[in-house]
Symmetry: C2
Subunit: 229 residues, 2 copies
Amino acid sequence: MEQLVKFESEFSIDCVIFGFEAGELKILLIERNDEPFKDWPALPGNLVENDEGIEEAAERILHELTGLDDLHMEQFHTFGDVHRHPRGRIITVAYYALIRIDSQKELKPGQLAKKALWHTVNDLPKLAFDHTEIFKTGFNKLRRRLSYQPIAYELLPEKFTLTQLQQLYEAILNKKLDKRNFRKKMLSYGFLKELDEKQKNVSFRAAKLYKFDRRKYSKIFQNELGVDV
Amino acid sequence: MEQLVKFESEFSIDCVIFGFEAGELKILLIERNDEPFKDWPALPGNLVENDEGIEEAAERILHELTGLDDLHMEQFHTFGDVHRHPRGRIITVAYYALIRIDSQKELKPGQLAKKALWHTVNDLPKLAFDHTEIFKTGFNKLRRRLSYQPIAYELLPEKFTLTQLQQLYEAILNKKLDKRNFRKKMLSYGFLKELDEKQKNVSFRAAKLYKFDRRKYSKIFQNELGVDV
């Protein structure tokens, strides 16, 4: 019997999910449950079904492995090194998302994952496959976006202190910033709204809380470089 | 005989190559030479070999179909709609590049392409596969980048008039801009260097020529939004 020539892309999805907690930038990792990378830490990822759209697959896979839902995930790069997968050349489409880590969102690892956990980006262990490279590419993208999109406010709680904001910038840029200059600069833009509220659960010197004013931000930056000349 | 289970991603590359010529924004199209889209206009694209890296494949494919070489191509999105390809689900990794169209660079269509030609983006014909969607996604990306990266100067000749610059902005943003405001704004940044030279081959009122000063640009914009606070 003649064999049908089938053309189908076998490929996978991997997710770099950034979160910010206790002054640290983190990403979501799983511990894999199957060979050849059993017990290794890895980005949440898996193969896409043949009849499944890419975005749809990204949501399903993240949900199955970590329990997370309703994230705004964005594709950022496709990795296809010939030797990236031990079973043969399988390309992977990488997505990233930013979320506010809060205690309500409990992680629920699925069948394929033994664990799902937040890990600080500073001392990541070696990851399965080429996941370290995928993470680095995603992290660079995040860093570049920080200069032209208000992404910091997707990671911070709705009300935050200037210290939290600075910690987040420092974590993403991977360097210490001068406190006085940072505050002066951030407040000078006019898109941070000072609230009539202070931090709670702090023993002394509770700091002022701020909110991000998205409308003001758009007004200030939409005209840069002639997009709306 | 037992069949080996092979895991290999069959996938393709498609290229959106932008150029600017005679006041118009253009993209590079081929006319396809094979079924099921024989004679259709399409983006330059083809299947990737199993032992070939993605970037490498993108360069090879563009060269084979159009004769172009040495472009700085950048991946921008992977398309994987289940029904995007009539032969089965084949995902495609899309790249884009910006080039200066000049008469020296002659297009040389390869075997798979009957023709290779520049086509203005304003009245594109219906393209093969999902190439119209790929083009639109690439065009939107270009438009967004215009607001935070000096991409206009990769499309213009090294020395250009303010009219050319405005035509390019108008083509990318798809709207008319006020001449006086546009010039005032563009010159106010300080990264356009006025030359002691005027347009040649113009019968009267030759306009002044300008150059883009990349160093000044970086100096002005690197500090925006705290990347270097």
